[in-house]
Symmetry: C2
């Protein structure tokens, strides 16, 4: 019979080979499969259900904050993509190009959207005339294509699913507030839904989005000590507005350019869930994002009353709003336990003939292996509901402690290199603000600046060049 | 002040130029806009919200019937698309082809999915081994690309949004039952959500889906007497299973090929809603699919208490589960009335200073122009809710009567041509089952066989060739 202390042989151990462990979990938990086109994965039902949970949670928040969903074309004329110089420079090397349509060779190449700033800009220029038309707060759920050489499930793919918000505003102030509001929504989604604490801050000039004035990021820390950029929110100023001529007549009767933002999270979040919470038995899902929160596994299900009791418990949990399933398949209980573990289902309830006699059932917690014997009575749904909330909190606190233990502030570059090699995680260090020092760090260590700590008071010098420090920066190796 | 009897000048009259009226409604109700790539439209917030309503309704039914959502890659290798001969023959002329990825020319052309049978088949062949793995009931929400020469918003586009279900089963019987179940779900969605009565039946060999053994269809009748194919459900037999080698070990220990279905509806349904229910003042939305069911328009909103009362009514309706908005913008009430009409919002509530004094408000129904004075009290939410249900029923009955009035059974080919030219709608006529006669009808009249009436008892002869009739067929001109 399966037990949390026993390693599941189907997957590589996390500490033996983290990369292989990750791929094993992706495959064995049936989150994804490979297709015959490199870098294009299949989101299997369980993986897609996770994405649907994230979509539902975020879409509600987007709508509550006044955003509307739209759908823009999948294809962008090459000339349109080229309208904003920095933008096209950033994306040109990654484009998938359609050159034939039907029986004809196209007059102009069409690019499968790598991101849709240019399409939104073209549309906004057409539909906005007056301050009365502002703000426009649009979002789109879709897939985008970026031709990648090295790909990994959910983390880096040639096609991935995401949402991209694109908003335009009458004033800089409003657009800046939107940029920060969306960063906040991302951070709180990570915390409240995924039980993942984020490090947030501003990207350096070198790391910001192609065409943005400022990029803000949420960064998660994986179990192997590497960072994962998990969402970004950009302030564009009026750069795109000028390139695309998005103007409006303001209350003062003057023509002005709009101020713009964009922001996105993607199926990378699935990678974050796996690598923050997973263990040697597979996936461990935080309860709020788990498509199935409770799996009821009948023991000796052929015995009279067992399946009925399992169904009865399921019905009572469902009435409480809990996502519950009964595994009544003809597999052995041990097999079912392993499968529920691999899939990271937060709670497993076992119910067999002896439990029926005692009016009890066994509840096993996936995240810490704890097992409880619980009375089957009217209080059960509320107890399970409370347990799920507690599990969320425990998983978040564990991830938070891990993250905090893995932020190391250093004063010298030797110390920086030493911490990075021996411990990993975030290394916080002063920085002068010059790209040369940032590049040197990357070339020496492969670590990149993840973001600027904006709450820090900066003093002292940059350990690379010795000049005055302008920022305290989170550096890390990253996915 | 706007009034239902007065024609809205912003759009062409339906009876003057139906095609222009349709485009006007699409644009002026802000359902869509054109992009700079021909045939690729922008789904604006209001149009996309309609699609989201349809998605939510259908997705629930799909899941209730055991289906799971997945996401397959956007790109299909040319060789994969060619594996099933009939299938590729049907789709090859419509393909958008990616020939470059990043900085390289691709070794093999990749096709943007026109439909995803081949991707599902390739995946199923990998993951199915035993009867225990069956059935697989997968669905995907996505966009597809089919290069079209002549395009119209929602009706025919080079890119459109849809869902495509793909299922595999151990037996023919089960697969056939699935095909019919999904047709039923489509028909009842049209009736219960969109207030549209469908004609349903089997497609002829000539009209069936490329690669299918049988295709079933739901066909709606537009105001101009033309039919609109609105959804199809296909039974594939084991044709694709043999081409893609999808086999399983059955209970009897024999290797067998699976039996397969696919089924889809698309954003064409938005076109159906517009052309079945719309009028000379714009869109008319059935209440259940309307993103906003009630628009409250304050009169003299600057007067004390007016906006408060509007908000109070809105809150009470919202608590009843009604989708309600207050239009408190600085536009005139007349402008607001017109806009609510153009957007087809089922109920408009007017509330002004005099109404406050009397404790009443005016409720105007979009579908028939009726205006009522109603007390503002605790019963109001329930009254509005009942009105919305009644409106749905009235709209459905009106569309049903129109459809029934426009089905004409004929005995001779002269009669057929005469009815088609003078009256339009469906013309029911005997058919021998030979493609030659079907082609002659199309060449002579441009009408096509929409579907075979499977409930009919057939007698007599085919008016084209004089041979014994095999089927009674619904013919119509179609979009």
């Amino acid at each position: 019979m399966a037990n949390q202390k026993v390693k599941n042989d189907a997957i590589t151990s996390r500490d033996v080979d983290f990369a292989q462990w990750y791929t094993d979990v992706c495959r064995k938990a049936e989150l994804m499969d490979y297709s015959s086109v490199k870098g294009f994965i299949i989101y299997r039902p369980y993986g897609y259900a996770l994405w649907e949970m994230i979509q539902a949670f975020m879409d509600k928040r987007f709508k509550e904050t006044g955003h509307e969903n739209v759908y823009m074309p999948m294809l962008i004329p090459e000339s349109l993509l080229k309208k904003e110089a920095d933008h096209v420079e950033g994306f040109a090397p990654e484009c998938a190009v359609v050159t034939k349509g039907g029986v004809d060779t196209l007059e102009e190449d069409l690019i499968i959207r790598p991101t849709s700033e240019t399409l939104f800009c073209e549309h906004y220029a057409k539909i906005v005339n007056s301050y009365r038309d502002l703000p426009k707060l649009y979002n789109q759920w879709c897939s985008v294509v970026r031709w990648e050489k090295t790909t990994r499930p959910f983390l880096r793919g040639s096609e991935f699913l995401w949402q991209e918000g694109h908003t335009i505003h009458a004033t800089e102030e409003e657009a800046r507030a939107e940029t920060m509001q969306m960063l906040d929504i991302y951070e709180s989604t990570a915390k409240d839904l995924l039980a993942i604490p984020m490090v947030t801050g501003k990207k350096t000039e070198r790391e910001k989005f192609a065409g943005a004035e400022e990029t803000y990021t949420i960064e998660a820390l994986m179990h192997d000590g590497k960072a994962l950029q998990s969402g970004t929110s950009h302030y564009f100023g009026d750069g795109f507005a000028k390139a695309f001529d998005i103007k409006f007549l303001d209350k003062d009767n003057k023509q002005k350019h709009v101020h713009q933002t964009s922001w996105g999270v993607s199926t990378r979040l699935l990678g974050a869930i796996i690598m923050v919470h997973g263990d040697d038995n597979g996936l461990v899902l935080p309860p709020r994002v788990a498509p199935t929160q409770v799996m009821i596994i009948p023991i000796q299900q052929q015995k009279p009353g067992v399946l009925d009791k399992a169904d009865e418990i399921a019905a009572s949990l469902k009435a409480q709003g809990i996502r519950v399933k009964v595994d009544a398949s003809d597999k052995s209980p041990g097999w079912k336990f392993s499968e529920a573990e691999m899939r990271g289902i937060p709670l497993r309830i076992e119910v067999g003939p002896r439990d029926l006699e005692n009016g009890q059932c066994v509840v096993a917690k996936r995240h810490n292996g704890e097992k409880l014997t619980v009375d089957i009575n009217d209080d059960l749904p509320q107890s399970i509901s409370t347990m799920l909330d507690d599990i969320h909190e425990e998983m978040y606190q564990k991830a938070l402690a891990f993250r905090n233990d893995n932020i190391t502030k250093v004063e010298t570059y030797d110390e920086f290199k030493n911490v990075l090699e021996t411990k990993g995680g975030y290394v916080k260090m002063n920085w002068c603000g010059n790209e040369e020092c940032e590049v040197k760090i990357k070339e020496d260590t492969s670590a990149t600046s993840r973001c600027i700590d904006q709450s820090a008071t900066v003093s002292g010098t940059c350990p690379i060049c010795g000049k005055d420090a302008k920022h305290l920066v989170f550096f890390a190796k990253a996915y």
